[in-house]
Symmetry: C2
Subunit: 342 residues, 2 copies
C-alpha cells in the first residue's frame, strides 16, 4: 500500500491525510524562495527584541542575559476585553479574552535553537513551563498555546530567536480534537494514547529519528508536512509543569538534536512552525493528555522549494508526496553536528 495513493488516519486528531508516494518525481516549475544565508550580528540596534533596545510601545528591553518574555505590543488577544455575546439569526460570535506574549530565547540576535547551547535551551523550556503555569492560573485562561514561527517563509518578521505564547479563554479546535481522541482512548484503555503510540513506534523503529533518556523524536505515521516531526516524552505527563529537571535536560537535548538535523537537511536555517500541545488549563481533569511538541516545516525539495498547502488542501484534505517513512529515514541519517561548524 505504501507505494500507491492512500489515506492515513491521524489517531491524535481524527483527521485523514492523502499520501501520493508515486508523485515525488513530478518536475517543479513554480515559485522558488530565495535562500539567503546572511551573516547576522549578535546585536542589532534596529531589532526590537535585542537587549536594551526600545520597542514600538516605547518600552525599553532590559539588558537580559537569560530567556526573556513580555506582553506582545501588538497582541491579538487582550486581557480586558468586555464579556459579550452576539447572536443574530445564523450569525454567532463571542468576545474572547487572552494574553499574547513574546519569548526571546536568547539575548544573542544571531542564534537559533540549533545554534544555542543545550543549557540555554533548558532555560527556554523552564521559561515556557513558568509561563504555562502562571498564565494557566489566570481565571480567564483555559488554554495556553506556546509556539515558534521560524523563518520569513513562515511569516516571522524578525530573525532574533523568539517564540510566542497566545493564552486564551476558549479551547481552540486543534486541542479540542486531540482532547476528544485522547479521552476516548483513555476511557477505553486507562492508558495514554501517545504512550501506546510511542511504544508501537519504538518497536517498529521505521519512523523514529532519535531517542535519548526521556524523549523521542519521530515522523508520525499521519504526518502532513514533508518533514513534520513529533517530539514525545517517554513518561505520560500532561503538561510542562510535570517535567522533572532531568526530563528538561533530555527535552533540550532532543530539541537541539532535531533542529540541527533540520538545518543539515538542506544546509540552511530551516524554517518551521513548532508548537507545544498540552493539557488545557480549564481546571478539569485531563488525565488523558500527553504533552508533545510538533514541528511543521514547509520545505520539500531544497532550501528554496516548499510544499504549498493550497487548493485541494484548503478545500478537501491535506496531501503529501514523500511518505513519513522516507522522511524519517532521511532525518535519521543526518548528522547532529551543525553544518556551519565545519
Amino acid at each position: 500500500m505504501n507505494n500507491n495513493p492512500h489515506r492515513r488516519y491521524n489517531v491524535l486528531t481524527g483527521d485523514w491525510v492523502l499520501v501520493s508516494p508515486h508523485r515525488t518525481k513530478r518536475p517543479w516549475q513554480g515559485k522558488q524562495e530565495t535562500a539567503i544565508v546572511k551573516k547576522v550580528d549578535s546585536y542589532d540596534e534596529t531589532c526590537y527584541l535585542c537587549p536594551t533596545n526600545i520597542r514600538m510601545s516605547g518600552d525599553k528591553n532590559p539588558n537580559y542575559k537569560d530567556p526573556f518574555s513580555f506582553v506582545n505590543d501588538f497582541s491579538a488577544l487582550l486581557s480586558n476585553t468586555p464579556d459579550e455575546n452576539y447572536t443574530n439569526g445564523l450569525l454567532q460570535g463571542s468576545s474572547e479574552r487572552g494574553v499574547c506574549k513574546v519569548v526571546c530565547f536568547s539575548p544573542d540576535h544571531s542564534l537559533t535553537l540549533p545554534l544555542m547551547k543545550e543549557e540555554n535551551i533548558q532555560k527556554v523550556i523552564r521559561l515556557w513551563k513558568k509561563e504555562y503555569v502562571e498564565l494557566g492560573k489566570l481565571p480567564y485562561i483555559n488554554h495556553v498555546q506556546i509556539f515558534e514561527n521560524k523563518g520569513d517563509v513562515m511569516g516571522c518578521s524578525n530573525p532574533h530567536p523568539h517564540g510566542q505564547i497566545w493564552a486564551q479563554e476558549s479551547i481552540p479546535l486543534e486541542t479540542s480534537k486531540k482532547t476528544k481522541q485522547q479521552a476516548e482512548y483513555w476511557g477505553k484503555n486507562q492508558k495514554s494514547l501517545l504512550f501506546s503510540y510511542l511504544e508501537q513506534e519504538l518497536e517498529m523503529k521505521e519512523r523514529v529519528i532519535s531517542e535519548n533518556e526521556y524523549f523521542v523524536s519521530l515522523v508520525p505515521y499521519w504526518a502532513v508536512w514533508p518533514y513534520e516531526t513529533l517530539v514525545l516524552p517517554k513518561r505520560h505527563v500532561q503538561s510542562l509543569d510535570q517535567l522533572t529537571e532531568e526530563e528538561i535536560v533530555s527535552f533540550a537535548n532532543m530539541i537541539k538534536d532535531l533542529t540541527t538535523r533540520y538545518d543539515n537537511l538542506f544546509n540552511v536555517s530551516f524554517p518551521y512552525s513548532a508548537g507545544i500541545h498540552q493539557s488545557p488549563t480549564d481546571q478539569k481533569d485531563h488525565s488523558e493528555w500527553h504533552l508533545h511538541m510538533s514541528f511543521y516545516p514547509p520545505l520539500l525539495r531544497s532550501a528554496t522549494v516548499k510544499k504549498f498547502m493550497v487548493g485541494y488542501e484548503m478545500f478537501a484534505d491535506p496531501q503529501r508526496d514523500i511518505t513519513a517513512e522516507q522522511a524519517a529515514e532521511t532525518l535519521r541519517s543526518l548528522s547532529t553536528k551543525h553544518f556551519s561548524s565545519n
Copy 2:
C-alpha cells in the same frame, strides 16, 4: 463586540475563527513577496498547457479553442490503485482511488479569469459541470473537488489560466463538515442552510459585495482569509449539474465581477485558491447541499504583504485582523472595470 477581540462561528463547517480588529495597526517588518507585473504573451512555446505544445508525458495538446481538460500527467490520485487496507495497532490506512484532471480555461496563455470574456467564462463553467457529472458517475468516485490555484504565492507552477479537479473515493474533511452542518439544518428546517444564510445577508447588506440575477458574492461572517469571499446561487441547487443556462450566464458574470474587483484591490493579478463545494457523488440523497464557490486569497495589506497561516493558526485556530465587514466594504467600493484597461 466588533471592535474587540472575538470569535465567530462558521455555521457551514462548525469551526471558529479568532478576529482581532484592533490589530490592523501593527507594523510589518516581515517577508514581502515580489510583485512582478510581467507582460505575458498569448502563446508560450515552453508552456505545457498552450495549444499544440508537447507535455512532459509526451502527449501533444490539441489546437484547442475552447476550455480543454485532460488527466494530470502527475496525478496525486490514480484510477487503478489496488484496493487495500492497513491496520496495525494504532496505525490505520487505506488505499484511495481517484482521477486528477487539469482544466485549461483558455488557449490564450496571457489571460486570467477577470481578463476573459464572460462568454468564455461560461464555457469554463459548462466544462466544470460536464466533468462533475462524468467523473461523479464513475463507480469509485464519491467526491469531485474543482479548484484553481492562482499565482505563484499559491503554489501555482504555471501562469497559463487553468484549474484542477481531484475526484476520489472518500469524502474529504471539509466536505464532511459541511455535509454534517447542512444536514442538521435541513433536518430541522426543511430549508437549505445557505439559502437561509443568504436571505439574512441580503437583508443585512453589510457583507454583500455584488448581486446579479441569480448569484450573490459576499464576505462570509466567518471569513478566515483577509479578503475571503463566498459566491452563492440564489436558488437552492445541490450541484453544477442543476444550473440552468441562465444561471450559468449569471455565475460567469459574478466570477468576472469578483475577480476584477480582486485585481483592482492592489493593482495586481490577485492570487488565490478558489474551490467549488457541492453535493458528494456518493449516490445518497443530498437535499441539504447548497452549491457554492469560495475564494481564499492570501494578500493582506498590499500586492506584496500576505497573511501567514502559521504558528497559532496551525496549532490552535485561524486568526484574522480586519473584520469581514471591513473587507466587504472595501471590495464593494472597487471598480468592476479592470485596472489594466485604463
